[in-house]
Amino acid sequence: MNVEEVMNKRVEFVEANATVLEVIEKLVNRRIRSVVVKPKDEKDTYGVITVRDVVFKCLVKNLDPQKVKAYEIASKPLITVEKSMSIEHVLSLMERFNIARVFVKEGEKILGVVALMDIMSAYLVRRLL
């Protein structure tokens, strides 16, 4: 099984200067668990915000989600993999970096995301197909 078979193509992006409230709105409205934060400038890189980042880096600290910007709480760098990579390799990356999702990149384009939940579903589906 490789990344392309398992990845979820539903990736949502926000601008680096978007507020955390806009991020929360996107997470809720699109029913997703993470959003990719676009680079602030040419020197910057992509980042990711999950519910965990929103809670621990903003809400728990009593910061105003309308004032905090996405780039301020985004986790960087984005861990990316090739679409041809094996799932076993992805799992070892996840274990090493203690992360729950990796992004799938082709050149500079982000094609999708593979989360632990996607891998669990894929394994279960494979047993039945």
Binding site: K9, R31, L128
Partner: protein
């Protein structure tokens, strides 16, 4: 062949037809070829014929009386999978402006539906024999149903960005609704299988 076996074979055939219908629908949408939708309509009619034969077998005395209502309900649910696929095809046929097919999630949901029917089709007889296998199937279909629900939500959000006429909007909305409903119906089928297995 015993009457009960004929009923089980009939249900199995209906599930295979549902799988083929979902595949035909996916191909029609991917190729933007509405002529391929005729195959979906044909498969639905074939499914209706099998359902009538199964009903006749049950009427003639297949299965113990206490099992018959649940067996018949399962047949109805499987028939609903075919009807829902036909409904999707009908709505898609009526849409004139296909620009909304830029939304990637539509293909993902079509693929998901094919996968769900494939799981039902390949495992139906095993599900009836092995409660643990069925339990696993229920979990998988439930995960997929949730995913289909999320995809529908994302599609509807993205659809708001498209400027379409009233009737196109109406049929696109119905098309998306019916695509998502298939996974709901499949989940119902799995629940009914569990009930039947409990009664055996």
């Amino acid at each position: 062949m015993k009457a009960e076996e004929r009923v089980i074979n009939g249900i199995s055939q209906m599930i295979s037809l549902a799988f083929s219908a979902c595949e035909s629908l996916r191909k029609a949408v991917e190729d933007k070829n509405k002529a391929l939708l005729e195959e979906v309509f044909r498969l639905e009619r074939e499914g209706d014929e099998i359902r009538r034969n199964i009903t006749l077998e049950i009427y003639r005395g297949a299965f113990l009386p206490y099992l018959r209502p649940n067996i018949f309900r399962l047949v109805e649910i499987v028939d609903e999978i075919l009807n829902t696929t036909e409904e999707s095809a009908m709505n898609f046929q009526k849409v004139e402006d296909l620009k909304f097919l830029e939304i990637q999630e539509i293909y993902s949901i079509l693929e998901l539906n094919v996968k769900i029917c494939s799981i039902l089709s390949k495992n139906f007889s095993n599900f009836l024999k092995d409660p643990e296998r069925l339990r696993e199937g229920v979990i998988v279909v439930r995960i997929m149903e949730k995913e289909a629900d999320n995809m529908k939500f994302a599609i509807l959000e993205k659809l708001k960005e498209f400027n379409v006429g009233f009737w196109d909007g109406y049929f696109i909305s119905n098309f998306v609704e019916s695509l998502e409903r298939l996974s709901d119906v499949a989940e119902d089928a799995m629940d009914m299988l569990q009930i039947i297995l409990l009664s055996l």
